[in-house]
């Protein structure tokens, strides 16, 4: 089993004719993801890597039965693309695009809620259920089928840690990059709940970072609701206050959102927090051998 995506996922790529959209459509298809359609207004009729292109998501859904969308369109138009997918009946949207204005996300949120659409991202690397579906810009080769759930706010740090997991023979059920923006779709808690309910997942790794309190909420959720072991890591222990560390969401404001607070919250919830990425597989092994 897995969460959110699997062999039944039928993917439509929004912005398929752009540089990134084109490149990663090929990569995803090569991985084995069922990429059924692309969308690029005005390019209907084109084939990209054998994938048919439509003017609108509605047309793509009608023709191909797509149920999941990935968004590569530029930041200024990404919110509209997300809403278009939602209105066309897509139930899961993965927004890769970086740099979406926060107000756009605030307008998108209630719209998706009304339609019952889930969103991952924006500004995220996507997600993968190894050997079934890769939806995003993740390098497929470092992932391995297994039974660890993985959630992260980062991109390359995800690869770093997943690589360590795979090298240590911890395969993954599903790995989700939830993105580095302050207002995003699914948060840690939403995914922890799904992993808790996924029979195949036996433990979860959570990679947090400074800014916000999603990690604190995750810790609370783990303490209250989870039976499966969780290992955490927090990036940004050395980050100064008031400076945005690359991600729009990675900022310590007025002394809140610090790594120390997040680590304390996880410790209080009984979740071991790795001091450095190398320690993550070690802690995981300890917990699973208990």
């Amino acid at each position: 089993m897995s969460i959110l995506v699997n062999k039944d996922t039928k993917l439509v790529v929004q912005g398929i004719t752009g540089r990134d959209g084109k490149f990663h459509s090929g990569k995803m298809k090569a991985y084995g993801t069922n990429v059924v359609a692309g969308v690029s207004p005005g390019k209907e009729g084109l084939l990209i890597d054998g994938i048919p292109v439509f003017n609108t998501v509605a047309a793509a859904v009608k023709a191909t039965g797509a149920n999941t969308s990935i968004v590569f369109v530029p930041a200024a138009f990404a919110a509209d693309a997300i809403m278009e997918a939602s209105e066309a009946g897509i139930k899961l949207v993965i927004a890769i695009t970086e740099g979406l204005p926060i107000q756009d996300m605030l307008r998108v949120t209630p719209f998706l809620k009304q339609n019952g659409t889930l969103l991952i991202g924006p500004n995220c690397p996507g997600l993968i259920t190894p050997d079934e579906a890769l939806i995003g810009i993740l390098p497929g080769n470092i992932f391995k089928k297994g039974n660890i759930g993985f959630i992260s706010r980062s991109g390359t740090l995800t690869y770093e840690v997943v690589n360590l997991l795979t090298l240590n023979d911890f395969g993954q059920t599903t790995c989700v990059g939830i993105g580095g923006d302050p207002i995003a779709g699914l948060y840690f808690v939403d995914l922890l709940e799904r992993f808790e309910n996924d029979p195949e997942t036996i433990a979860v790794v959570v990679i947090g970072e400074i800014g916000g309190d999603a990690e604190e909420q995750a810790a609370q959720f783990i303490a209250d609701k989870m039976t499966k072991p969780v290992v955490a890591f927090i990036a940004g222990q050395t980050a100064p206050t008031g400076k945005r560390m690359g991600h729009a969401g990675a900022i310590i404001s007025s002394g809140s959102g610090t790594a120390a607070e997040k680590i304390a919250a996880f410790n209080k919830a009984g979740v071991p927090v790795a001091k450095e990425p190398n320690e993550i597989p070690v802690l995981l092994r300890e917990l699973l051998n208990k």
């Binding site: 307008r107 980062s154 740090l157």
Partner: protein
């Protein structure tokens, strides 16, 4: 992006939020003239982009022109948390019956703009949140309907019993929300909002921050940017596709990805070193980016070693190595540079780098240790 108090007041005026009369001054003689013209008791306020100017002596009440001149002499040129005061705002010192707090922020959990008001104004809201959390009223605004008049009035009635006061406050909340949304703000604070003896409700100190991601559609806000030296470097880096933040240490870091960059800084610290910066070069093997990044790092005179930490994902490590080789051809430095390559095609990349004489490793911790070691030589 941050703006000064005087700029926030300009925006408040544009949106019809009442603020006291004021004049921006760069010199003592301008302050003298402004005080004479206002012909009232004034406050001379340092215009700096850092908090805590009050405690640092950057805000002074002046009963007359002589007072104002002496205040201006003390404040202009003063250093507040590393910022030199280059201008002051001379503002009508209105009489105050009571102070309140009004703030708008983006709330991550409810995914909404949240209005926070408090009867405890004039102090930092974080202190109120810690000591008297029950004194903060929070209201989550539905982005589809906006802040409705009755909602603003309901909240105003929780601070003001009197209807004429409550109506003024409600109107300020509504206008501040409009300003906030239309300018893509991330913080809009009025602290204090004051009630005067003649029953007027006024905004005294205004603080606004804006969403960097939305500046492309906010030319008027962007024109208000007054970056300091460090920020100029950050903005310059950003224009080159790099995300750079200067820190105080001596080990320069160049990393692909923000999370990994933070983890790299943390690891340096964990192993006893001090990171000199945060630097995310993004997901590209473009040699120009590596050259630009290296130039920024080496401009920081404190840097005694550089750690390059690349995890190849979609970006192949051999491509990154080729970029690095090209970059090293145009950069001359005797500062040691440790390169870590891992992930896709790492072996090929490390092989290519042999020609550069750069120390290469394949794990992050090894790279951090090596960089620290080299930085001490």
């Amino acid at each position: 992006m941050k703006i000064h108090e005087y700029q926030a007041r300009q925006l408040f005026r544009k949106y019809g939020i009442p603020v006291p009369e004021d004049v921006l001054c760069y010199t003592v003689s301008e302050v003298e003239k402004a005080t004479r013209e206002l012909n009232r008791m004034v406050v001379v306020k340092a215009q700096v982009l850092v908090g805590g100017r009050g405690k640092a002596g950057g805000v002074k009440l002046a009963r007359n022109v002589d007072d104002a001149v002496s205040a201006a002499k003390q404040i202009l040129g003063m250093d507040i948390k590393g910022c030199k005061v280059e201008k002051v705002l001379v503002s009508d010192a209105v009489e105050i019956t009571k102070e309140y707090y009004v703030g708008l922020i983006n709330d991550r959990n409810t995914k909404s703009v949240t209005l926070m008001v408090s009867s405890e104004g004039g102090v930092e809201i974080e202190e109120v949140a810690k000591d008297n959390p029950e004194k903060i009223i929070k209201f989550h605004i539905n982005s589809l309907t906006g802040l409705l008049d009755f909602q603003a009035r309901d909240i105003a009635f929780q601070l003001f019993g009197d209807i004429t006061q409550a109506k003024q406050a409600a109107s300020i909340f509504t206008k501040l929300y409009k300003l906030y949304v239309e300018t893509d703000a991330t913080i809009a604070e009025i602290n204090p909002l004051v009630l005067t003896p003649d029953n007027k409700v006024l905004a005294i100190d205004g603080k606004m921050n804006f969403d960097d991601n939305a500046l492309f559609r906010q030319p008027e806000i962007l024109a208000m940017r007054e970056p300091d030296e460090d920020e100029l470097v950050e903005i310059d880096a950003s224009s080159k596709g790099l995300s750079y933040i200067k820190l105080d240490g001596n080990i320069g870091c160049m990393v692909n990805g923000a999370g990994l960059a933070m983890a790299t800084m943390d690891m340096i610290k964990l192993y006893g070193g001090e990171p000199a910066n945060f630097l995310d070069i993004g997901g590209s093997s473009n040699p120009q980016k590596v050259i630009d990044a290296m130039n920024i790092l080496l401009n920081d005179k404190k840097v005694t070693a550089v750690m390059i930490n690349i995890f190849g994902g979609i970006t192949r490590c051999d491509d990154v190595a080729k970029g690095l080789i090209k970059a090293m051809e145009v950069i001359t430095t005797n500062i040691p540079i440790v390169v870590r390559l891992s992930g896709t095609n790492a072996a090929e990349g490390l092989e290519l780098l042999k020609q550069t004489n750069l120390p290469t490793v394949s794990s992050m911790s090894e790279a951090a240790k090596k960089a620290i070691e080299l930085s001490r030589q």
